[in-house]
Amino acid sequence: MLNNDLFSSYDLLPNTWDEMYNNDSKIRTQYNIINSYLQSTSPEVLFKKEELSRQLFMSQGVTFTVYNDNEGIEKIFPFDIVPRIITSKEWDKIDKGIKQRLTALNLFIKDIYHDQFIIKDGIIPADLIYSCPYFLREMKGVNVPHDIYVHIAGVDLIRNNDGEFYVLEDNLRTPSGVSYMLENREISKRIFPGVLPKNNIRSVSNYPNILYKKLQELSDQNNPNVVLLTPGIYNSAYYEHTTLARLMGIELVEGSDLVVKDHVVYMKTTNGLKRVDVIYRRVDDDFLDPLEFNAASTLGVAGIMAAYRKGNVNIINAPGTGIADDKAIYIYVPDMIKYYLNEEPILKNIETYQLGKPDEFKYVVEHIKEMVIKKTDGSGGYGMLMGHEASDAEIKDYIDNVKKKPDNFIAQPILRLSTAPCCIDGKLSPRCIDLRPFALAGRDGIEITPGGLTRVALKKGSLVVNSSQGGGSKDTWVIQ
């Protein structure tokens, strides 16, 4: 029996790349298998599969807690059952592009905290670096093990209407979402039995093993003690911290479990202090060490930065990597790639205007309806102005605010995020998506797990995929 109703309301968005349909409304070949599977499945069965996926997330505890009136409510990150599929050719380019970009970004961070050739050669203005809140003076002149600053990155990509992938953000500090990449795949195995192998979909389950290998290789010890530092149970990504610690078989620690003595980090065990060699921290730079950064922080460990500078402990990612994923610095990444690697960028940047430059400011204001304005140090989809949605009064207020400190703002043309089929009320509808692959850098190079987190803007017509603002996720299949 064919479920004809399923596709009855699939209205393609104008001027937008759809992942499943090409311009002639034909199904792209990589979607054939899942398409025929869905067509031969009744709406009742699809509903059941959706319900099953929700139950699985709940019972495994793949949830985040929203606190309201002292009462914690368990929520799941909405999951759309229809996978997003990427061809091997497309993946190949993403893989090469991210590796190139991370190589350049890592060289940039090292340069900034040491010789600053890129400033001296006039590629990047010095004041941009020194005014960036993520620039850490505490890291100047510090030699990090194997010169690796960014060990873990979750680069956000979007596909524009020309079919090309563009880099939206580099996310070089403590990117999250990888547990959803892993968990979504486990759910897919349950709800589409047999479909993954038939499609030759590349596995993602090796991620924790690669991560552990890269972490422990950073230490000179034979059997280093690697731990994961979490801000604690109230953090919205706590589920991810417990999952990664469990899958790697390492200890999940909180700041109060650690103590620094004579520039060595220890954890407090039932049988005394035990040395810690490598810390995969999911605590932001600001909170890492109350002696050097935010003095009120109870999430970090006093003295940990001094131990780090002495080389007695490894911190992953290195403190200060935020300098390279600031939105104002982002503009210069293509220049960095040329400067450090003498290569053309494989993945494009989105055209970005610096509002601190009068001519660019003027251009943005004139084309405000086609622009999105962002704060250079913002994240999570907050503090943005979407020109096409905002009222004239909202635009005026925002621009007045920009004028106070124009250097803190950038503008980008509103993008046509590509759409992918989502199961909404028993029918497939196109929804905007992005892609966050996870890259791991270590002594023997960079590895990117084939797949990643595809985030979906579940609201019709919305471009905001952030989980805090009505976003959901999909499993991401890369074909062998």
Binding site: M58, S59, Q60, G61, E71, E74, I233, Y238, T242, T243, A245, R246, G249, I250, E251, L252, V253, E254, S256, D257, V259, M267, K268, T269, T270, N271, G272, L273
Partner: protein, 308 residues
């Protein structure tokens, strides 16, 4: 093992054990209350498990069970206990078996599901309490067959037996105050039988002593029986064994706990029923409670001693 983790494991088990005990108590009292509400009122149960400032009391069975299971204001409601057990489990997921985590999480999800409270009011209360009890039994079984014998297991068992021994002494102390109020030997035997039912020893008692309720037999069984898993001796013996295993495996430094436990174990083992009667059961219980308080305190210092 991290001190915080050890502490969380102990409390995870303490809460689960407490939940199991409270559900048993509610079930036993429900039946007894149907027979003689004047002997088995609900108020003492509420009083035992709520803080001093609690003002909610009821003699309506469903209202009481509702309060003891679902109330947000009652720190020892099953809902609050399981929430705390789950929070402890959540932060030690890499130390407990996956199955054990799923078991606790599903229990929590059941208790927080919309409409579950309605079920208690509309369905038969014993069936409802049994459906909760089933999660505790599953928890015990899952822990037994999935958890490796190592530091996590030993610390969890310390929590379990510590909570259990506290419960038994508390239950017994409550019954003693009630027994003291009456001189009717039939009523007294009802109380003793009720105690056995609450801690799950009634069947064993019948097997050993048939249906004749002698105070001395009951006291000997509750306090000194070597094979009854809910006797005080059995719990102290297990506590002792698990502490020793932690010391032997290098997870715990040799300290005061071992001495305190060993001392208490021999006291209970070698005190005769005659000498218990001589100094009075209340005093005997008081001494045991004092010792347990010190042991519990020493166990807490395992967690706190490395904080500096």
């Amino acid at each position: 093992m991290l001190s915080r983790v050890a502490n969380n494991l102990i409390w995870l088990e303490r809460y689960m054990e407490r939940g199991n005990g409270i559900i048993s108590l509610l079930k036993t009292n429900f039946y007894a209350n149907q027979d003689s509400p004047e002997l088995f009122p609900w108020t003492p149960i509420i009083k035992t498990y709520t803080p001093e400032n609690n003002s909610f009391y009821t003699e309506d069975p469903i209202e009481c069970i509702n309060f003891m299971v679902f109330s947000n204001d009652n720190p020892n409601s099953i809902l609050n206990i399981v929430t705390k057990a789950r929070e402890n489990a959540r932060s030690v997921q890499e130390h407990i078996s996956r199955e054990l985590w799923l078991c606790i999480n599903n229990y929590y999800l059941l208790l927080t599901k919309i409409g579950v409270q309605k079920k208690l009011n509309e369905e038969e209360p014993i069936e409802f309490l049994d459906s909760l009890k089933a999660y505790h039994l599953m928890f015990y079984g899952t822990m037994d067959i999935t958890q490796e014998r190592g530091a996590s297991y030993y610390f969890m068992n310390i929590g379990k037996y510590l909570e259990r021994v506290i419960q038994i002494t508390d239950f017994t102390a409550i019954k003693l105050t009630e027994i003291a109020k009456t001189s009717d030997s039939l009523e007294q035997s009802f109380y003793w039988k009720n105690l056995l039912l609450s801690i799950g020893g009634y069947q064993l008692y019948l097997k050993k002593h048939k249906s004749s309720f002698k105070e001395d037999h009951i006291i000997t069984m509750v306090f000194q029986d070597k094979l009854f898993p809910r006797s005080i001796y059995y719990c102290i013996n297990k506590l002792n064994r698990h502490v020793r295993q932690l010391i032997e495996s290098g997870e715990l430094e040799k300290n005061n706990i071992e001495f305190l436990l060993g001392k208490l174990e021999s006291t209970i083992k070698y005190t005769t029923i005659e000498s218990i009667n001589e100094r009075g059961l209340e005093n005997f219980i008081k001494e045991i409670k004092e010792d347990i308080k010190n042991i519990s305190f020493s166990i807490n210092t395992v967690y706190f001693s490395h904080f500096n």
